[in-house]
């Protein structure tokens, strides 16, 4: 299991479209992926859970991955929220 804390640099935060993109990317990995904000943990592969957190620009979130391709997944997803 790997954990990484990242700052969300996406200008608009995780609005509906970027959130959908994020989930799409997350679903490419077989590892179990979670995202945590303010102690609330949701499945990063589920769009509704992700959107219920209403993640805004500049916020700190924790990505958690567990599975064979965990390193890769964490790396890819953290770069997704921290640039573009």
């Amino acid at each position: 299991m790997v954990e990484k804390s990242v700052n969300v640099e996406l200008e608009t935060g995780l609005q509906a479209r970027p959130a959908a993109q994020f989930v799409q990317e997350a679903n490419r990995y077989s590892a179990n992926l979670f995202l945590e904000k303010d102690g609330k943990k949701v499945n990063a592969k589920s769009i509704m859970g992700l959107m219920s957190l209403a993640i805004t620009n500049g916020e700190n979130i924790t990505l958690i991955a567990d599975g064979i391709d965990e390193e890769e997944a964490i790396h890819h997803l953290s770069s997704f929220v921290s640039n573009i």
Binding site: N27, N43, S46, I47, M51, S52
Partner: protein, 311 residues
Amino acid sequence: MSIVRTKDLLKNFTLTLVAGEDGIHREIITSDISRPGIEMTGYFKYYPQERLQLIGRTEMAYFLDLTDEEKRDRASRLCTDITPGIVVSRGMEIPEILINAANESGVPILHSPRKTTRVISRLTNYLEAKFAPSTAIHGVLVDIYGVGVLITGQSGVGKSETALELVKRGHRLVADDSVEIRQEDYDSLIGNPPPLIEHLLEIRGLGIINVMTLFGAGSVRSHKKISFIINLEIWDQKKQYDRLGLDEDKMKIMDVELPKATIPVRPGRNLAVIIEVAAMNFRLKRMGVNAAEEFSERLTMMIEQESEGAE
């Protein structure tokens, strides 16, 4: 668990702020409420100062019988710098001395027109709900024939689709994808949707749909006690699935153990019907009718008779 401040009480109850406005941002850290009766006599050794204080008729009557000097002493010792507030019930008049002490130390005094026991139970209920341990679970919560069924399973296994079919059959959606669960008392779990995604359902290929506007107000619920967990998983050839239903599987969420059934998913299986029946069967079992057990007993009896006959 959320932070509760004294101002939240003002917002949620018919309380009026009489004094100590500086302290309305004080945090309430426990759901226990203290009635400072013994303290009124001057015994402050075990004064639970971090609790909300409630002064009812008895405490007030005793307080009023004290001399002015004693009143000042008790009032100032009641109003510590961490006391989140003092509630005075029954709409009783609040003595000047208490108001002054509260203003000085910034302890809010809240005035309630209701009876003391009413105030206690309502405040306790409110605080207990706020302080209840909580968690979020990836799954769908549906009310099926009054049974709160939590459907869990891997992403993409068909939870939301099953929920849609269930709603179409007249059952009620509570939450899709992410269920906030809080524990009430020691034995019950209440699930509700995160406010932002209430009434919404996400279906692959359709996107986000609003169940309430599509199917009407009767198709949704704001919260529901969870009684049964159904775990959907892709059919695994090597795995043994329950064929009898004699043993009840369990799953623990926080401190509560709930019965759980694992249902394998395969194309062509109508999950909504299976889950609907599972919920009904669960109700039947709770009413004391257990088909699997009854059948097993009958079979055992038959075998015993046969073997006796053969002897």
